[in-house]
Point group: C2
């Protein structure tokens, strides 16, 4: 085990001599095993090891005991120790993100604070082969391409994962054989978070019914995908540089003829790359966005425009393909019929998925900012996506009286400029949802609701995990 | 719907004027919808439509009623009708394949017989978007790379799938709106086959707990993977032709220097391609085989040899990489220790996965020719993979007395030549398994068995579905 981890560290260059390595230690088996394995590696590579522990403030006394346990271990081992207590639930609410994501941001933020004191370094985390399998299943279920199937890497920027290729079984065996003391993180045992549900329900079900070696099969899938995806990325980078005519802060111009000679697999990657360069991120760019641009760039008429998230525009002229940061070029007034299934409107750039499900089927799904449920039997006529009209009123969820939409916007401190851009979903009589904001009380899912309308909005800040 | 199917037919060239198209009709909703959609398409494209029905002889009278139903429909519609009764269970036993696979072989065999009478043509089958999702999940669970994630294609050789991009929901709606009469295939409702289990248990679980649009997400994954995988295949073909020095019936010689300049993603594909050319098939070539050859070809010493399935050998000399059909070059006597996890022995070319599981966890998994269960508590000492030794004895499963292994081979009519090659798995005292043949009665899993040893052999005829 020690040899395997040392091999990983050397092969992927995870730790070099004199590096500062902060290892996040919860006290659970995975992070305790990582800690002891890093101590072993230190015998071969002379680096500086620092232990950090974050108390997420969700498990009261028990969490305090864990903190004291890790602190005591650090002292015994003679390793510097830092800890911090945070409130991930409050932080999540404040930032409008899930508490899992909040926890992650707080943890890494703290680790980097520590590293700053030391003049920089890397963060070692205890992700293992089982975590990788869970990540893959999560991504497969939520929707991904082969780039997502690569899963987590041994090293991403300043984060290193020295035990990524070791299964939880082997970690537990190591802990047992070495008599390493650990604590039990009970939050890992509740199937409330998506990841725990995958770990505690889905994977055991697959192991029992389909493949007892599912963890290893998914590991191989991640390795194969990662190799293919890296090759495709590098190849597309080369082609991008060949096709590129001009790359400025506000626009990218590509050679139409050279672009059209590429395979669609490479074209898609070049479009993704260009958009990412202008926006600084990929989130929210869906496969439908990309294939609309692919169609436009291959067959589209000069003058046609496609709107992408964050006001990015794709268009063509005689010789060129252009992707640029525009003023958001949404029609002054727009109104589109929404159908069951996927709805993508290139001229405004919005992307919705619409379903109607029997009430029983949505019990376990939680709504969020971009995923909302409505009583389908209350819907009159067609569903319409449009921007606001003079005189629009709506009844915010939880309230009884209706309100001018304009007043709602004012109360929510939404700038005049934005008010015209926020889409609403309405039927022939009322507004159901001010997208990204409140839903209407009229369409609330009640106990006697039979069919539930599920609307998912893919916004440009959608995070995959 | 008619327009969408016609678009698919045109776009992928599924049906041309004057084609003979045999459509397999079970009488269920999917195939009846396909039948009516093809009748619509016939109004635009002048082709010859033929209905075929196979009675698999597993549901007695009910199956006969289905056959008569399809026959009556064919008559009403004025379309030629052929039917055949088969015994897929007997056929499966005879051929040593699952009854699902047997059913598939018998169906396609019959369809091709019909087409032969017409001078050739294509077979239309009713695979839909849900079937595609099931295929992807099955492959993901069993282990696959991105090439497998492409799933089924609209056209593969002589098989066309005109409704592959239509979901089961939409098919049912179409059936309802058009008032098309159908029968219910009850074998689809039993979660006994892997595929039915995925359909009836796994997908609904994922829809309820993780993603109500899982079918569409998997569809997108298949489309993306198929685009990427086709590009990688074409690119590797080009590189293969560049690197190839000589391609004969019994060997392939590649240029070492040019090979080493390729990305590992492409190297893997070139090795797969070369091996496939010599063997005529890919089945049984695992990722471990391929990565051993990649290592040999990139870093290996001249003179080292790797054994691949079916007696294919990979080796290098000063300037060349060689893949050749050898005499099976297995050491005369060999003996290797087997460990928990994956075991691959390049010098003999065998590949085993070994697990130990608690008894409760294997209740639903069925053993087959290459997947066997043993009582782990009966195992003494190390597990060993070896060929036969003089004086070997073993107690075939279901028998009480022990038998000379030699006599067992004679009874099984195994040629002398093969007898030395068949590997056995033994512990320090007895033979557990004559691999590919019988297991030992001594290690039978009993009611009081606590830990089960699971051994999976990846043989060169392993079929993925």
């Amino acid at each position: 085990m020690e040899a395997k981890v040392l091999y990983t560290i050397m092969k992927y260059g995870l730790i070099k001599e004199k590096d500062n390595i902060v290892v996040g230690v919860s006290g659970g088996p995975d992070s305790m095993a990582l800690l002891y394995l890093l101590i072993e590696a230190k015998k071969q590579i002379d680096f500086n090891l620092i232990i950090a522990h974050v108390n997420h403030g969700v498990r009261g006394n028990e969490a305090l005991e864990d903190e004291l346990f890790v602190q005591r271990k650090a002292k015994e081992l003679g390793i510097s120790f830092y800890s911090k207590t945070t409130d991930m639930i409050a932080y999540g609410k404040e930032k409008g993100i899930s508490s899992e994501e909040a926890g992650r941001e707080l943890r890494y933020g703290f680790f980097r604070e520590i590293l700053d004191k030391y003049g920089g370094g890397k963060i070692a985390v205890a992700h293992n082969m089982n975590d990788q399998a869970e990540t893959l299943l999560m991504r497969i279920m939520r929707g991904t391409g082969i780039d997502g199937l690569g899963g987590m890497e041994f090293i991403t920027h300043d984060i290193i994962r020295p035990i990524l290729n070791i299964s939880r079984n082997k970690i537990e065996k190591y802990i047992e054989e070495r008599n390493i003391e650990t604590v039990l993180d009970k939050t890992n045992l509740l199937p409330i978070y998506t990841r725990n549900k995958i770990r505690l329900e889905l994977i055991p079900y697959i192991e029992d019914n389909f493949n007892p070696s599912i963890i290893e099969s998914l590991w191989r899938l991640s390795q194969i995908s990662s190799i293919d995806s890296k090759f495709l990325e590098e190849y597309s980078d080369k082609k991008y540089n060949l096709i590129l005519k001009s790359e400025m802060e506000n626009y990218i111009i590509l050679d139409k003829e050279l672009f059209r000679r590429q395979d669609i697999s490479i074209q898609q990657r070049i479009i993704r790359k260009s958009t990412e360069k202008l926006r600084g991120k990929l989130q929210g760019l869906t496969e439908q966005h990309i294939s609309s641009v692919v169609d436009l760039f291959n067959f589209g008429d000069t003058g046609k425009t496609i709107n992408l998230p964050d006001g990015i525009i794709a268009k063509t002229d005689y010789n060129n393909l252009i992707i640029e940061k525009g003023k958001i070029d949404v029609p002054k007034e727009y109104s589109y019929k929404l159908d069951i299934g996927n709805n993508y409107f290139p001229s405004v750039g919005y992307n919705f998925n619409i379903k109607v499900l029997p009430r029983e089927e949505i019990q376990d799904i939680k709504s969020n900012k971009n995923l909302r449920f409505f009583d389908y039997d209350e819907v009159k006529g067609n569903l319409i996506l449009r921007n606001r009209r003079n005189g629009d009123r709506f009844i915010p969820y939880g309230m009884n009286g209706s309100k001018k939409l304009k007043d709602y916007f004012i109360d929510e401190k939404i700038s005049r400029d934005l008010r015209d851009k926020i889409p609403v979903i309405a039927d022939s009589e009322h507004i159901l949802w001010v997208v990204g904001y409140r839903t209407s009380n009229l369409y609330m899912v009640k106990n006697n609701t039979k069919r539930v309308l599920v609307i998912q909005y893919f916004d440009s800040n959608n995070r995959e995990e």
